[in-house]
Amino acid sequence: MAGTIASAIYQGLIRRNAVYLTSIFAGAFAFELAFDTGSNKVWDTINRGRQWKDIKHQYLVKEEEDDE
């Protein structure tokens, strides 16, 4: 089983250098996207109610009423 997976990885990704390089770059891009999204979510949970985006609705709504 492990051998088939390893050979699939080798045949599919590593054997051709162009595919290998492309997969590394795409993997880095995907990882950064996922890591940033995930850690930002954790950060916002830890700091719920403390950041500007949590309180700005109070002040934005008031202005729209003033405009109308």
């Binding site: 940033d36 930002n40 950060w43 700091n47 403390r50 500007w52 309180i55 700005k56 109070q58 202005e63």
Partner: protein
């Protein structure tokens, strides 16, 4: 050079021979019967006492800090408060920053400048664009010289920095009995004790100076201020400010809010910095785990090998 080493060679050799002799004699004497003096317990005891004496005398001689000032000149040490925003994973409480800015604007700004902070830096932090534009427009700034070379006045823009209450340092001193109200932009970084010190100072004014304390005319007593005589009087009284979000404006609440606000003005990058730090620590922990695994992987053949020495069998004769 060569001659010197040759000269030095002779006494060394003699010394080596001497010490060799001495060890041989000592082993002879110990075997003769003075067991108790050289027992492991006594050796450890002697070594421990000698180490303790050496460390103690060194600490006595070099470990003491020299204080040239009296406690009154140093000022009372500020209490350490559990600031929520000082924790590693906590941002500023932006509602508190907004309240703190209100306190600064209505109380502190009459004497203290905040010249390193532009109006634009509040946008998206404590206030909306339109609120901040309105605040900026309340102040007048110099224009560029026009065709006639005259400098006119214009209302403030978001890119302007916050105006000072006084034209220059001399005017500030003249209006405050010779004492200069410091600029508050970086005051949290610029004072020992930071937030704790400023909070203690703002809330630490006693109703009456204690018995025996001499307070000069125009000065106020504050135990936290180095020298205890401060030109600034107590400014935060319950209800001086009316908060728009309904928070009760007690002295300590206002002091806490304005201290957090001043910490923000000194470190506006703190929120992002902490977030980056948490991300970096997370990634580096993963990379460290990988490197530990790689080390163990590479070393496993070396760690698990067994070296056996089988002496050659001499032919029987």
């Amino acid at each position: 050079m060569l001659g010197r080493t040759a000269m030095r060679g002779v006494p060394f050799r003699g010394l080596a021979r001497q010490s060799l002799n001495r060890t041989s004699t000592r082993s002879a004497s110990s075997s003769a019967g003075s067991e108790s003096a050289n027992s492991p317990f006594n050796l450890t005891l002697t070594a421990s006492v000698a180490t303790a004496a050496a460390l103690g005398s060194a600490a006595y001689l070099f470990g003491q800090e020299a204080f040239a000032s009296t406690p009154a000149e140093e000022g009372l040490h500020a209490t350490a408060y559990p600031w929520e925003h000082a924790k590693w994973t906590k941002t500023f409480d932006h509602q508190a920053l907004r309240r703190g800015f209100q306190v600064y604007r209505e109380v502190c700004a009459s004497c203290h400048s905040l010249t390193r902070v532009p109006w634009r830096s509040f946008v998206g932090v404590t206030h909306t664009v339109d609120e901040m534009k309105a605040f900026a427009e309340e102040n007048e700034y110099d224009t560029e010289p026009n065709d006639q070379g005259e400098i006119e006045k214009r209302p403030g823009k978001l890119s302007d920095y916050m105006p000072s209450p006084y034209k220059n340092e001399e005017a500030a001193r003249a209006a405050n009995g010779g004492a200069l109200p410091p600029d508050l932009s970086l005051i949290v970084k610029g004072r020992h004790g930071g937030c704790d010190y400023i909070f203690s100072l703002l809330t630490g004014y006693p109703d009456e100076p204690p018995a025996g304390a001499s307070v000069q005319e125009g000065m106020n007593f504050n135990p936290y201020f180095p020298g205890t005589a401060i030109a600034m009087g107590r400014v935060l009284f319950d209800g001086v400010v009316e908060y728009e979000d309904g928070t009760p404006a007690t002295t300590s609440q206002m002091a806490k809010d304005v201290v957090e606000f001043l910490n923000w003005s000194a470190e506006p990058e703190m929120d992002d910095r902490k977030k980056m730090g948490v991300k970096a620590l997370t990634l580096l922990t993963g990379l460290f785990a990988v490197s530990v695994w790689v080390k163990r992987y590479k070393w496993s053949p070396i760690k698990t090998r067994k070296v056996v020495y089988s002496p050659p069998v001499s032919p029987r004769r």
